[in-house]
């Protein structure tokens, strides 16, 4: 793979404009190329500074993104450039939006929006359908690491799709943010023996 092409793909990925093919290309190359990984890492830090995002530069995102993409169907490659029809551009663009949206929502904000129709169980869920949760004893480290990176849900997308489909209105998004903080902060003011409500509230500050 030529490095200019890779650099372009990487830029597109950082701008959330990469399509799936580009994402796969970068991931594949990054696996073998430490220099590319470090470039990616620097881009992340640079973007974090520009956007004032609290960012942990040490976190290597590539594994998580690869996990999110792993279960997706293989891309249908056009047989030859000459055969590419105009319609394929549209599909490329759709894929582009979907990949970008899932990456930004899960990583940068931490909020996952779920389409109402896809909510697991929905309101019909009753005590009878529930299996008692057994505790995490087998392999908590592996499991929790994956989950808290924000990607394992995307991995079992069949169970609970990450749905960037319908973005909420700016007003609604603002209200949800306000409610989340209000709830966390009022919880943190109870004389509780736990520090967790405080930690939850503090984790929402500066967003």
């Amino acid at each position: 793979m030529r490095s200019e092409v890779l650099q372009e793909s990487l830029s597109a990925l950082m701008d959330n404009e990469a399509d799936e093919l580009e994402v796969r290309r970068v991931l594949q190359a990054a696996e073998q190329d430490p220099a590319l990984r470090s470039t990616w890492s620097r881009y992340q830090v640079a973007r974090a500074v520009m956007h004032k995002e609290p960012w942990q530069g040490a976190v290597d995102l590539s594994a998580g993104i690869a996990a999110a993409l792993r279960d997706e169907p293989e891309l249908q490659m056009a047989p030859a450039p000459a055969d590419v029809k105009p319609v394929s551009t549209i599909w490329r663009n759709l894929g582009r939006v979907a990949v970008a949206a899932s990456v930004t929502l899960a990583v940068l904000v931490g909020v996952r929006m779920v389409n109402q129709g896809d909510a697991p169980g929905g309101a019909q869920m009753t005590a009878g359908t529930m299996t008692a949760p057994s505790m995490l004893q087998a392999n908590p480290a592996a499991r929790s690491g994956a989950v808290l990176a924000g990607y394992s849900q995307a991995g079992n997308a069949g169970a609970e799709p990450l749905a960037p489909a319908q973005a909420p209105s700016a007003w609604h998004e603002q209200r949800i943010g306000r409610y989340l903080r209000e709830h966390a902060e009022s919880s943190a003011q109870m004389a509780s023996p736990q520090l967790i409500p405080y930690a939850r509230a503090a984790s929402m500050e500066g967003r």
Partner: protein, 318 residues
């Protein structure tokens, strides 16, 4: 500790006698020990908090004496953020969104006897956290309406040193964990906040109103409602009704506000780590409202509460 003038074999004997005693404490007693520890122990230490999308590190200085409990919390990464709490009430904060200082008076007292009605308590075993031996208590919900917890309690003091929140599909949603802790008396200087910690302004009294029209038709069993209040969450914003609910451990808040011009909203479910937010549009006498449930409860529970409002709009009314 057991006081004895013992020989080497006496020590061994004492150890043998003590360990069954320690194990004999049941999970409820461990939980009560955790509640008591907060009001009795002075300590300082460091902990981290992790959820989807966030990892933060913190210092705490916690003094318990005749005057009550004073705590100073300082976030150790990112922009410096500091809180000082006295008996749970915030004295000063360097960044704090809530203008009202609303506390949502839902019963928050952790009562082991009551909790056991909704959670099955179990001692899972022992391990080590922050270089101290701990005992692990599992709290598994007896129904589908709340999450499971794993609490790691210090063997010597009962203090909570680590906590995991686990959902119904066995996925870890949140981790809280001390990395080190020292039990020692604290000086006034150690509890003195920095200049960036701003005293909270006095707030006008919360308006208590008749909100009987906004009571959801269903809430999960064991959850007790706090006082509903109507207030603005920020300057130049419309008034919002809010009401807190708690089962003694888990907590959720109901927010209802009118949908005015330019206030576009759809039914929505959002998840931030352990906290879910579910919005529903309501229609009362031709006026649109948005009801939102926010809390550390499973999405299905929040959905069911949201679906139980008497005034749900037609498309969601089933």
């Amino acid at each position: 500790m057991v006081g004895c003038r013992c020989s080497l074999s006496g020590l061994t004997l004492a150890a043998l006698l003590i360990s069954p005693l320690v194990q004999a404490r049941d999970a409820g007693q461990w939980l009560q020990g955790m509640v008591d520890a907060s009001g009795q122990q002075s300590y300082s230490g460091s902990f981290f908090y992790e959820r989807s999308g966030s990892f933060s590190t913190h210092h705490i200085w916690h003094r318990a004496d005749g005057d009550g409990v004073t705590e100073r919390m300082l976030r150790a990464d990112g922009e410096p953020q500091e809180w000082v709490r006295r008996d749970g009430q915030i004295q000063c904060a360097s960044s704090f969104a809530a203008v009202s200082g609303w506390r949502g008076e839902a019963p928050a007292t952790l009562n082991p006897a009551q909790l056991q009605r909704w959670y099955a308590l179990e001692v899972l075993g022992t391990t080590r956290v922050a270089d101290r031996p701990v005992t692990v208590i599992a709290m598994k919900p007896r129904d589908a309406f709340r999450y499971a917890y794993e609490l790691y309690l210090d063997d010597q003091t009962g203090m909570l040193l680590k906590s995991l929140l686990i959902n119904e599909r066995n996925v870890l949603l949140e981790r809280f964990q001390f990395t080190d802790v020292q039990f020692a008396e604290l000086t006034d200087e150690q509890l003195e906040p920095g200049a960036s910690c701003l005293t909270l302004a006095e707030h006008p009294l919360e308006k208590r109103v008749d909100t009987s029209g906004w009571v959801p038709g269903w809430i999960p069993p064991g959850f007790v409602a706090g006082e509903p209040v109507v207030r603005t969450l920020a300057v130049n914003e419309p008034q919002v009704m809010s009401q807190a609910f708690s089962d003694g451990l888990a907590r959720f808040t109901l927010f209802v506000e009118p949908l005015g011009d330019g206030a576009l909203a759809e039914d929505l479910l959002a998840q931030l780590g352990p906290t879910v937010a579910v919005s529903r549009r309501l229609q009362v006498e031709g006026v649109g409202y948005l009801a939102t449930i926010v809390g550390e409860i499973p999405p299905a529970t929040a959905e069911r509460i949201a679906a139980s409002f008497p005034f749900a709009t037609a498309e969601m009314a089933q």
